[in-house]
């Protein structure tokens, strides 16, 4: 069975994870982001920048700023880890969500992703168990993915009837998605391989003749028709085989196989002449394809079948030459691989800066001397996986190098801050010492006591303002002056008529005026007393606040003086520890990079050696066929009696 579905699932994994996130431009229900940092993760996620998305999310989770989206964020993180192929880490995330009794919808999604991980690791029963724990239909496209995954799990457990029942649920849907078509194709092939050919053929016929909405579906349709063709050939049904293979597009990636099978169907019909056209077309195509290689010996075979021995002989000779040339090219390609040219070109063509897992599949090779011979490698899962490892390691190396430079900057920055702090500290200490806070507090307490006494005794003069104090002073001076004038007058006046306030009209008048002024002043102050007492009380409160602030600042300054060096030391220790962790990773990256390069070269060389072996087999077959034709020709010549001529016998 072609394992198409898992591949498709891997590529659509990101979309599955997206179901946990809002999507509005596509017309789905609005979803409010209630934490900007969670939205920032989505911003990276929607641009396929998973590495920055995941690390940014981990930072926001550290600072506790993704609430109330904590569970959603974890599902998203798990999905992104899964897309990096980090199964154990993703499993941990999803299992924790289930253990912590997240919301039912979140738990359902977690079970779905766990099922996917278990399926990818070959734990089929556990995957089925996880799928069975999903309580309610999943949101969006995830529900269809769940059904498809269930069908695939059942298929992998040889429960084809169960898988068919699941897939039947898609029949009612309007249109067929790529994934459901893939699932039908896989089920059809599985049925054929397990002896239920009739049911398999019916399913493959349905896929092979279904209307295709896009290139993926057209390509799958071609595959189904090729499969049908070869099933029919195996069942000795050449007419059915030709009918199916005729439906394959000539420009399709399946066209070579279809042309080859089309020719074999003709030979099955005992009409080798019919096989010549498709095989002649095939031998004009690049020889790296297995079907083309086979066509190189199939075409002369058809020639010999129609009795064109000399053309067949030429065809076989040409095939041997082609095989030898190709063998030599493969040898060159292997040398190039050993020299590291393949890996270098791959990395240069697909740089790892884009992030972990970026451009998950390599669809085309860079320009290389033996690119045609290496092209079949692209179809190999192992090759793709190792290339991905290598690119990831390149990305990791670049990431660590970047942080190494940043850590150096952090160290410099910290050193500058420490120097600036030590430089400014004496001035700050001096400035803070210039203000005597206890003395200020004492002054405030004295004033508060005066205020309390004045308010208790209701003494209006205690709250006199500066104007009134001036007036009071003038009044006191005037009263003293009046007394002094009267005293002087008493000393100089005759004893019989002493001058007093009562007897001197001027003095009496002045004294009255002064009393009135004094009375007016006291009356005014008495009127103002409540307001003034309140203002003083408020001013005392403000003073208390200002003194508290000053004490707080003083304490903060004192604390900073004591703690800042410790804070700097803590930062320095953290930088040192992180630097050590980073340094410890560098040799690991280098080691794994070397191992991945060797692994990739090993896979490539093994593949090319396999191609060489196939060529050797085909070349041997061609030589054998040539020998047979030559034998047949010699036998025919011996059997034919010599016709007498005037010039003697012809060779």
């Amino acid at each position: 069975v072609k394992a198409l579905l898992p591949t498709l699932c891997a590529t659509t994994l990101a979309l599955c994870a997206a179901a946990s996130a809002p999507a509005r431009a596509d017309g789905s229900a609005p979803h409010t982001v209630n934490a900007p940092h969670y939205g920032d993760t989505l911003f990276h996620f929607f641009q396929d920048r998973y590495f920055s998305g995941i690390t940014g999310l981990m930072v926001s989770q550290h600072f506790g700023r993704v609430a109330p989206h904590d569970d959603e964020a974890e599902v998203l993180r798990g999905g992104m880890l899964l897309s990096f192929g980090m199964h154990p880490q993703a499993t941990e995330v999803f299992e924790r969500l289930i253990e912590h009794k997240a919301a039912p919808a979140v738990q359902d999604r977690a079970w779905f992703f766990l099922a996917r991980i278990r399926h990818q690791r070959g734990l089929l029963a556990q995957a089925q168990d996880a799928l069975a724990r999903i309580a309610a239909p999943l949101t969006g496209s995830l529900e269809e993915d769940r059904q498809l995954l269930l069908a695939q799990v059942l298929m992998d457990q040889q429960d084809f009837a169960g898988a068919a029942t699941v897939l039947d649920s898609f029949k009612g849907m309007k249109g067929s998605t790529d994934a459901s078509q893939f699932a039908r194709f896989n089920l059809g092939v599985a049925w054929v391989k397990t002896g239920q050919a009739e049911r398999g053929i019916a399913l493959l016929e349905a896929v092979g003749q279904a209307p295709a909405a896009n290139e993926v579906q057209r390509s799958l349709r071609d595959r189904a028709n090729v499969a049908l063709g070869f099933v029919a050939l195996q069942g000795k049904k050449p007419l059915e085989a030709r009918a199916a293979l005729q439906r394959v597009r000539l420009a399709s990636t399946q066209a070579n196989k279809a042309l080859l099978g089309f020719g074999w169907a003709a030979t099955e019909l005992n009409d080798p002449q019919l096989a010549i056209a498709p095989w002649a077309e095939l031998v004009r195509r690049p020889v790296q394809d297995a079907a083309v290689l086979e066509a190189h010996i199939a075409l002369p075979y058809a020639m010999s079948e129609i009795g064109a021995y000399s053309r067949a002989l030429v065809g076989y000779e040409h095939a041997v030459t082609v095989f030898e040339q190709e063998r030599s090219a493969l040898q060159g390609a292997m040398s190039a691989i050993h020299s590291g040219a393949l890996v270098q070109s791959l990395l240069a063509h697909n740089p790892g800066e884009a992030g972990l897992g970026a451009q998950a599949r390599i669809e085309e090779l860079p320009e290389l001397p033996y690119a045609a011979q290496l092209a079949p490698l692209l179809a190999g899962h192992e090759f793709q996986e190792n290339t991905r490892h290598l690119r990831d390691l390149q990305f990791v190396a670049a990431n660590l190098a970047q942080w190494q430079a940043s850590l150096g900057s952090f160290e410099d920055m910290l050193a500058n801050r420490r120097a600036a702090f030590e430089q400014r500290l004496p001035a700050v200490r001096q400035a803070s010492g210039a203000v005597d806070l206890p003395a200020l507090q004492q002054r405030r307490d004295t004033l508060a006591a005066e205020w309390l006494a004045a308010e208790t005794s209701q003494d209006p003069a205690a709250f006199a303002d500066s104007r009134e104090l001036t007036l009071q002073a003038r009044l006191t001076r005037a009263q003293a002056a009046l007394k002094s004038t009267l005293k002087a007058a008493l000393e100089t006046a005759p004893a019989a008529a002493p001058q007093t306030e009562d007897t001197s009209p001027d003095a009496s008048d002045n004294a009255d005026r002064l009393r009135r002024v004094q009375g007016a002043l006291l009356w005014q102050q008495a009127q103002q007393l409540p307001a003034r007492a309140w203002r003083v009380k408020k001013a005392l409160r403000d003073t208390d606040q200002a003194l508290a602030n000053a004490r707080e600042r003083d304490a903060a300054l004192l604390q900073a003086q004591q703690e800042e060096p410790a804070r700097h030391a803590r930062f320095a220790a953290r930088i040192g520890a992180l630097q050590a962790r980073l340094q410890a990773l560098l040799p690991q990256v280098a080691l794994l990079d070397t191992a991945a390069r060797q692994q990739l070269q090993h896979i490539a060389v093994t593949e090319l050696q396999g191609q060489q072996e196939r060529l050797d087999v085909y070349a041997a077959q061609a030589r054998l066929a040539m020998a047979q034709i030559q034998d047949r020709s010699q036998v025919a010549q011996r059997a034919t009696p010599a016709r007498p001529t005037g010039n003697g016998a012809r060779p």
Partner: protein, 157 residues
């Protein structure tokens, strides 16, 4: 040419690469936390975000942010970034430091408005910065009543 044997079995290599990636992610988290605490301490941190609610009436091209009349950020959007905003992403456009007290933020959005016309609008907000980090979101909305885009500023508490 004989195929050279790999140094590590494929499964071992895969596991070790995955473990390494996990450790690198943890290291990146710790480094980013350190960077934030060192460069943008909570007491002075201010971050500006851009989001889009529907956004059918405005095709965003660029944003300019001024904090206290100083340009702190200018950003030209790629189609992929605009798409990410449409899908519900929130972009952290700027992160910096501000003293405690009153501040003003001005944001200017440039793009295409209704009927494909060039559109430039500004929005402003005065806000107080205390001792906690301050997160400000600039939200582009559609006003269905006025058939015009609207630009809101929200300060997250």
């Amino acid at each position: 040419v004989a195929a050279s044997a790999p140094a590590l079995a494929p499964a071992a290599l895969d596991t070790r690469v995955q473990d390494l990636k996990a450790e690198v992610m943890r290291l990146n988290r710790d480094l980013l936390v350190l960077e934030e605490e060192l460069l943008f301490p909570a007491g002075t941190q201010v971050a500006v975000f851009v989001s889009m609610d529907v956004g059918k009436m405005f095709e965003l091209e660029s944003v300019q942010i001024l904090l206290d009349d100083k340009v702190v950020s200018q950003h030209l959007y790629t189609p992929l970034e605009v798409q990410a905003l449409h899908r519900g992403g929130v972009q952290r456009l700027f992160v910096g430091n501000l003293r405690a007290g009153s501040h003003a933020i001005d944001a200017f959005f440039t793009g295409r408005g209704p009927h494909e016309r060039d559109y430039k609008r500004g929005t402003t907000l005065k806000f107080d910065k205390g001792t906690e980090p301050r997160y400000i979101e600039l939200r582009i909305k559609d006003s269905l009543a006025r058939l015009q885009p609207e630009f809101e500023v929200k300060v997250w508490q």
